[in-house]
Symmetry: C2
Subunit: 128 residues, 2 copies
């Protein structure tokens, strides 16, 4: 697939997350998706995202930087949100926090098959 | 610059770090380099790296995934090392740990001018 296709798919994927349009997730995520080297599959991947939105009701994925070299994408995401209790083991308890995630994706036939993510937990900690 | 040039520069930069060849760092890093949105400059950037090697004598930068869309590079680095005391506020104290860093670079005229890095502190914590 060419670069513009991957950008388009990714932006639609992020819109799908922000709309919490879970039935549509299968358009973007492969059945056998892996997360940080571990096969989780579509259903568990969806549950992980649903849990994120439960913990952070105002969660919003904001793309700060997006680069593409097919079949890979790399995205820097920014979050500016209010987790209601604990996240990543940190007692945020309704405080507004900002943090980033740097994440790579590998796509096959238009679907995300591999995700390698690092979330800036240290940035959240520094704000508590 | 074209993609193959950037890959070449980046691989030489990583070799320079692994050799701790600090006088050579200026070949790769711009005078006014910024780190996570903050202008630090070459000298402070070098000091940051020297501190990393002081804290982690067997530090070695291992490129796991590297993608390029000029003028950007995105790299997933893996570390398998033995920090002697504390790192990122965690009491590692000589235990062997593995963790990753997902990092973006922006290059201008062959030098790194912006670095946006996220290090997986949570992975280290989970190993202690």
């Amino acid at each position: 697939m060419i670069k513009t296709d991957l950008f388009g798919i990714y932006r639609e994927y992020i819109a799908c997350l922000n709309q919490q349009d879970w039935p549509r997730l299968e358009q973007f995520i492969g059945d056998g998706v892996s997360y940080n080297g571990q096969r989780v599959g579509l259903q568990k991947y969806r549950e992980m995202l649903e849990r994120d939105f439960d913990a952070i009701p105002d969660l919003y994925f904001d793309i700060q930087l997006l680069i593409c070299e097919p079949p890979y994408l790399a995205s820097r995401l920014r979050f500016d949100c209010t987790p209601k209790g604990e996240i990543f083991g940190l007692p945020v308890n309704g405080k507004r926090v900002s943090f980033t995630e740097n994440v790579f994706y590998e796509l096959r036939e238009g679907k995300i098959e591999n995700v390698w993510s690092v979330i800036d937990k240290a940035a959240i900690e520094a704000q508590l």
